[in-house]
């Protein structure tokens, strides 16, 4: 993309006044030399001016306040939801790690069951893999239910 293309793409946001200082300078510099972009920029200004001038139905003040309060509540709820999503994810990790650690704990501790856990035994290995997968799947199912309740997934 050359400078002309980049600036062309920035023009709508320039017309809205939503560029950072560096981008705005770049646009200003280019506009001085490029008649095509100046015309284009003029068109964008026209559009944004028309948008600002659109007749607005005057909503009752009570309704405006109520809507704003509702928006603030929804934003707070969304923030809370995001935080609560971390909890099940954390649970999955913990369940996985705990299941993995159990193997070593059983081997390290002088536990009667530990003697039964023979690493070389295929049956034990398969059981162990099965248990870890089952633990992770259960945690994933819990997470899925949690998200479903919150409407994140259907």
């Amino acid at each position: 993309m050359n400078d002309h293309d980049v600036v062309c793409d920035l023009l709508p946001m320039a017309a809205v006044g939503a560029l950072d200082a560096a981008q705005q300078q770049r646009v200003d510099r280019h506009l001085k030399d490029c008649a095509v972009c100046r015309t284009e920029y003029g068109d964008w200004i026209c559009l944004t001016r028309s948008l600002r001038a659109l007749p607005m139905p005057l909503a009752p003040q009570k309704l405006v306040l109520k809507t704003r309060r509702l928006l603030a509540l929804r934003a707070a709820a969304r923030r809370n939801n995001r935080a609560s999503q971390l909890v099940p994810a954390f649970l999955i990790m913990v369940s996985w790690i705990m299941t993995l650690l159990n193997w070593f704990l059983m081997r390290l501790l002088d536990f009667p069951l530990a003697q039964w856990l023979d690493v070389s035994s295929t049956a034990v290995r398969i059981t162990y893999i099965g248990v870890t997968w089952l633990a992770a799947a259960s945690a994933a199912a819990l997470l899925g239910k949690h998200w479903q309740r919150e409407g994140k997934i259907i």
Partner: protein, 85 residues
């Protein structure tokens, strides 16, 4: 009357453009329309919009940018001319 005629025509054209832009805004996808409404009707800053909608600032900028491009295309198509209003 002849002096008043150009004004009436201008008003008519201006009204047509205004209706056209209004319709174009109404046809935008909801996520774009809310950004346009908050920016131009509520005159909110982009940071405020991001706060109200709980969106990253970058997402608000992208939506505004796309919404403006869609609007311009739609208005130009409807009026059959460029945007030189």
């Amino acid at each position: 009357l002849s002096n008043r005629y150009p004004d009436s025509l201008e008003q008519l054209l201006s009204k047509e453009q205004s209706t056209c832009i209004e319709n174009a805004v109404a046809e935008l996808p909801a996520s774009f329309r809310e950004v346009i409404t908050l920016r131009f009707e509520e005159e909110m800053k982009l940071e405020e919009i991001a706060g109200v909608l709980s969106l990253p600032l970058g997402t608000v900028k992208t939506r505004l940018h796309r919404a403006l491009k869609l609007l311009r295309r739609s208005v130009s198509k409807k009026l059959g001319i460029g945007m030189g209003l």
